[in-house]
Assembly symmetry: C2
Homo-oligomer: 585 residues x 2
């Protein structure tokens, strides 16, 4: 009955028989269906657009709120089609506070990181914490937890674990199917996960860097409908031709926009989205979110209308987000007010017809609303107490080198792949040849597993650096020049229930606590960013190399899916053979 009454009122308002709640007038409305600007009014009722037409005059004298937009341009609210909120290190609410001023009114998030720590409970936590935000957070379910058999994650998510979650309203698909190798080889669990998503009428997102030819055919035939890993236009074009939607990614770790600019051409743009994948808090503040990608695209020559459509209507249509992505009757009144579509500077952001941000700042009542509504979901113990490991001691980092040769993980500046370097076992010269010890401590299930190895190119000359952010299992990773500082750094992160720490001479020089699953914190984006910058400076004082981000380098050192050599909780792993290899031989 409520739905009936709501719909009737909407129709009456659209028709002009009843007054809207708000009328927006004196504006150019960007029509995402045709790319035109229309000088009309927007009548809003119950947070939904009733009509785009002539309403302001009709409401003269009536008790209805009229908002004069001073001739500015109104565009649909922006949608990020693929992001891991956890990678911002911000709690969902702080993430929302950071991105809303940039015009983001919806994101599709893959809670892959927290799921690797806390499993279904982690996903439920994210659903709960995003349920009352002034922004729509949709979910795609993590398809690959753990990422590989070599990983020791906090959880293993089988097809039957995921299946019930597909029925949730805000769950719109199965997330990036990273195990493309297994998909095209009929891995039983993958097939089941895909069929669950399809049976629920939801999409399956892809992750197929460089996948082509018949392997791509097999991946698409399996039902994988998108890709956000295109690094060249040719790659994107082939995937688009096979029916995939292309998510043009411009985030912190990966920036593909420039190479993919041809996708803004007439032949392609209707099946492309704009996404960030991962964004650190600093970039969110200084550059922006999807609005930044739109501005960048325009700067690189894109038709603004097409860029905006990718960031709104296309995302909504690909994921089937009802009532999102356009300004038309029956759509949610989520929109941004900009100077012009060419400059795309965001002046105001509206969600459900309410002003939620102005001049880059959340309105006070919205900031308060968000804070007040964050009490739900605080009972998730596995999220707030995600460390299940004892304190470590310097003894734990001892390693006996029996052979004459030694494998070392070689960092490459500006890249996330690593090289396998073979050197001798004389550790006394490690400082002068830029080799540090690297350890990965299992932290989820108290197994006591600690993998130990060596890494070169990190630059660290003194002390130790530890982090609980380590793709994809997020165990506790420590790099250090001496075992004792390594133990202190690891224990500092453990004591904070997660985060980053930098130690020298037995003293913790700085830390960034990330108590939510060891990945996120409740502090605001700018505070987190300052804290992070401080830590990087401290790390630089200890010698970390200039061309690298010391924490991002650590977070990728444990990712056993990108060549060549990585650290696991069982020791060094060769990526190509997916096998554990001895450090010394």
């Amino acid at each position: 009955m409520r739905k009936q009454e709501e719909l009737k009122r909407l129709i009456s308002v659209a028709f002009g028989r009843e007054n809207p709640d708000v009328i927006f007038t004196n504006c150019s409305i960007f029509n995402v269906f045709t790319g035109d600007l229309e000088k009309k009014d927007i009548a809003v009722c119950n947070g939904v657009i009733a009509g785009i037409g002539d309403y302001a005059d009709a409401a003269d004298g009536a008790e209805v709120k009229i908002v004069d937009l001073n001739g500015l341009t109104v565009c649909p609210g922006l949608i990020d089609g693929h992001i891991h909120i956890e990678s911002s290190m911000l709690s969902p609410k702080e993430f929302a506070k950071a991105v809303i001023p940039h015009g983001t009114t919806a994101v599709v998030t893959d809670p892959h990181e927290i799921a690797n720590v806390a499993g279904i409970s982690g996903i439920e936590f994210m659903l709960e914490k995003t349920a009352r935000l002034p922004m729509d957070v949709y979910f795609v379910l993590p398809s690959c937890v753990p990422a590989t058999p070599l990983d020791e994650a906090g959880a293993t998510l089988s097809a039957s674990d995921l299946e019930p979650l597909f029925k949730r309203d805000r769950v719109v698909g199965l997330a990036e199917m990273m195990n493309a190798f297994g998909t095209v080889r009929n891995d039983e669990q993958i097939i089941k996960k895909i069929l669950s998503a399809k049976a629920a009428g939801k999409v399956v997102d892809g992750h197929g860097p460089g996948l082509a030819g018949n392997e791509l055919n097999a991946y698409v035939a399996a039902g994988v409908k998108s890709d956000h890993e295109c690094m060249t236009f040719e790659d994107a074009e082939e995937k688009l031709r096979r029916g995939q939607w292309i998510m043009i990614r411009q985030g912190t770790a990966a920036k593909n926009l420039e190479k993919l600019m041809p996708l803004f051409g007439e032949k392609y743009y209707t099946r492309c989205l704009l996404v960030t994948d991962d964004k650190n808090p600093g970039e969110l503040i200084s550059l922006g979110h999807i609005d930044y990608i739109i501005r960048e695209a325009i700067r690189l020559g894109a038709d603004p209308a097409r860029a905006i459509r990718m960031a709104s209507l296309n995302a909504a249509e690909y994921f089937g987000l009802k009532g999102k992505g356009a300004l038309a009757p029956g759509y949610k009144a989520d929109f941004v007010v900009v100077d012009s579509i060419e400059s795309f500077n965001i002046r105001q952001v509206y969600y459900g017809g309410e002003l939620i941000s102005e001049k880059g700042k959340l309105t006070d009542y919205v900031a308060e609303y968000i804070d007040e509504n964050d009490s739900h979901g605080n009972e998730y113990k596995s999220v707030y107490n995600s460390f299940n490991m004892p304190e470590v001691t310097a003894e734990d980092f001892k390693i006996e080198l029996t052979g004459s040769s030694r494998r070392v993980i070689g960092l490459v500046p500006g890249e996330i792949f690593t090289r396998e370097i073979i050197t001798d076992t004389d550790t006394s010269k490690d400082a002068e040849r830029d080799i540090v010890k690297l350890a990965l401590i299992e932290r989820h299930k108290n197994t006591g597993h600690i993998g130990i190895g060596f890494m070169s190119g990190y630059g660290l000359k003194k002390g130790a650096i530890a982090s609980s952010v380590g793709h994809d299992s997020h165990n506790l990773i420590v790099a250090g020049v001496n075992d004792s500082d390594m133990a202190i750094a690891a224990n500092a992160v453990r004591a904070n229930k997660g985060g980053l720490a930098v130690v020298n001479n037995g003293r913790v020089l700085g830390s960034l606590p990330l108590p939510i699953a060891g990945l996120m914190c409740e502090r605001e984006a700018d505070e987190v960013q300052c804290n992070l910058e401080d830590l990087k400076n401290i790390a630089a004082d200890l010698g970390t190399a200039k061309g690298i981000d010391p924490f991002m380098s650590l977070s990728f050192a444990s990712l056993p899916v990108i060549p060549e050599l990585r650290i696991t909780t069982h020791g060094l792993a060769k990526v190509d053979t997916q096998s554990i290899v001895p450090v010394s031989f």
Copy 2:
């Protein structure tokens, strides 16, 4: 389990580990996503496309069927987004046999006509009769049965009658909401029907000729997502801007293509479909179906790639037809082989990878398959015995003209609207001034209601013509010069359980039996067309005017939604006031 095994095999075939069932090679494949042609092979497995790539070489020597397409072009099978199959006068199977050679591999049909005769049972009959065709027939549920309160239809379909049908797989929406007037005024039943469709995740089609401004806003706000009644580009553009998909209609009764050509422009074409609405069997044979609209559009200057996309991908995306509308992995292997996309002459048609038509003719085994599989659904008594009325006599057509003036329905050549003409009551001069008697006999519920009036401009000089095809209630309509021939004509149609009849001097000169609900027959399209042409010639011999189709004119004479004056079973109706008015006053 079957789904898992099927998917695994599809993936294996795509990858190249297993052989496909068929490989199509030596062809240019039209890629509907980008508008390009690609010289590749199509690997098909279980009726589904596994891959578009290089497969022919790999299969050398293996036991796999290889089809050489001689360098021709392959395009997705065509989809008619809005048609009433009943209007072809052909049974579903004969309709399929007529349209398949034109490349149609899917239609979305609104069984509005049969529903007005036989209600839910009529819809079930159509679902049953289309379940085993080599063509996908999707349904939108008739939204307005009866069409108006003035109609005496065979059934009344309430929201609760329709509700369970929305759960059916092939039901994809609620059909053209003709009662736009009621929709924007919150008619309770309409609101409920719309909410049922939405709750089931299905679309609501529109029918809003000329609807604009706030009335259009209200109609779209109600949830109506498409329109096929646009007669001008301006009308279409406004609807498209408000979020509706535009169905460009080029059928037998209405031809809007030429006026709507601007919709093939870059700004519009991604949200347009091609539809026919109504097609008579003659046009299906002589002109074609959706293929004809594509050729016409190209002739009028459209980019072939855009026209084909409208007729395939766009229709599939609007209605959410899974696996239809493109040639890509995971899509059904439904396609047409054409000389070129520019000429669009259809050489072959494939459905699920099987050749079903070649050089304009169904392959023998498909024709047989269709015939053999038509035995289901023959038990629908209300469909096969849809006449529930006694024989009539000349007496039944008597009318007393009490006043001095008389209202006459004035036909206008080439138009479906009529004029109200006022003349005297001296019927003795009617022959010379081209006025005939017109009667509408209620035939569904044995009410004995007969509405009697007069019509001018029909041309008939002798005898009588009767038909059970009369929009939208399909009662028995008769026009005649004398009451006795009118009774004979009506009884002839009744005896045939429906159809058309032409009578003179007490003799039935010709008839076309339409025993399925009084609307369709089991004969082939060309036979029906010949029969119909014969009848038209006989009617012409009796004097029917040259500029009109005597049967189509009759079928619209009872449609009380188009101005000005119409016949109902209760007498003459003025359309603007929706009221019954006396013939003489």
